[in-house]
Amino acid sequence: MSGQNSWVLKGVRPLGGEPTTLFVDDGVLVDAEPSGAQSFDADGLIALPGLVDLHTHLREPGREDAETVETGTLAAALGGFTAVHAMANTEPVADVAGVVEQVWRLGQDAGHCDVHPVGAVTVGLRGEQLAELGAMAESAARVRVFSDDGKCVHDPMLMRRALEYLRAFDGVIAQHAQDPRLTDGAQMNEGVQSARLGLVG
């Protein structure tokens, strides 16, 4: 029996194409109209696959005053996202299976969109020692994207080891590429504006 997740989307324009009708049966796109589906008069709305964001900061755990997984994912849904990646610079840092699973579960509970926690590349984002990348990959969160975002993994040997190690489970490193020595105390883009405003570029 078609449940609440069955739809007849009338008059949608997939990727801006000609208006047509899309059928959804129990959460899956199908070719024919399922019985008992709810109808939705799209009237020329553009249909796109749910947006995916590789890079967000949902602040939970640690800075729930700035955002929670619930408020962040609701904002994502309102922005058209059906999946977002949550960066590891939370408090505590998401550098162990326990924290990534907590974030993943918070996403599931909120239900606004899929939350894929990003695992830290190094312990505490300190750029000194590889975090337990395998444990995070095998965890319930199935982490595949790893990043020290907010900080740059600037030790070339450590980066090489991380890239090699991740090949075991098809992981990817999202590098916040920024040489810390060249940007020490930087406040804005260095150029005509920073020269005039007296801000370190």
Binding site: Q4, G16, V28, A47, L78, G80, Q175, H176
Partner: protein
């Protein structure tokens, strides 16, 4: 390797060069780097403080071109909400970061339109690829970013391309009020979002 928040013309060149070598690299750009420039910092309003920082018009142009020609694979918001007190300070003491989830699609549409990609037949497939298909692939998400065809999970978004709207931080679902687009009128509004057929957003409001 995937490069976060590419923000300068030079970086676009480096990614283009790396890809020409056949290396397995991908790159993302944020909506604010596709749209805003560093002259906004003249107000010293920390809402414009972000890392990597807002750049020059030439950088914006190069990023838009890189996104269109595929050198840059994906748009990613780097959504960075902050508590009010972390932003309402003098510039040097303010936290880096901007919210972006609720404005991303509209800003990217505005940026691409300004860049000349205004034919719907070109615009929407480009957005579907750079904001759904490719990021899903980079993130190894098999069930997201699929073409809207039978068999795919019903993860989709319905967009009213004609609805312009004005950004009001007080209305945002995000706890962060630090959107750099406050007061700006942007094109296109999300009407509905479906997560595996379940509506998470209807009529522009939480379902």
């Amino acid at each position: 390797m995937h490069f976060c928040h590419v923000s300068t013309a030079g970086s676009v060149e480096l990614v283009r060069w790396a890809k020409s070598k056949g290396w397995n690299v991908t790159a993302e750009v944020t909506p604010h780097h596709l749209f805003l420039t560093d002259d906004l910092v003249a107000s010293y309003d920390p809402v414009f403080k972000v890392n990597p920082p807002l750049r020059t018009a030439d950088d914006v142009e190069a990023l838009r071109a890189g996104l269109v020609d595929g050198t840059i694979d994906a748009v990613a918001t780097d959504h960075a909400p902050h508590a009010l007190e972390d932003k309402e300070t003098e510039w040097a003491a303010a936290a880096f970061g901007m919210t972006g989830l609720e404005t991303a699609l509209a800003v990217v549409i505005a940026a691409l339109t300004e860049h000349g990609v205004d034919d719907p037949a070109a615009l929407w497939p480009l957005i579907a690829d750079r904001m759904s298909a490719r990021p899903a692939a980079i993130g190894r998400l098999s069930h997201q970013g699929q073409p809207l065809a039978a068999g795919a999970p019903a993860n989709l978004v319905l967009v009213d391309a004609a609805a312009a709207w004005t950004v009001d931080p007080a209305q945002s679902a995000s706890r962060g009020r630090n959107t750099p687009f406050a007061g700006r009128t942007l094109p296109a509004r999300v009407t509905a979002t479906f997560l595996r057929g379940r509506p998470t957003v209807l009529d522009g409001k939480p379902a």
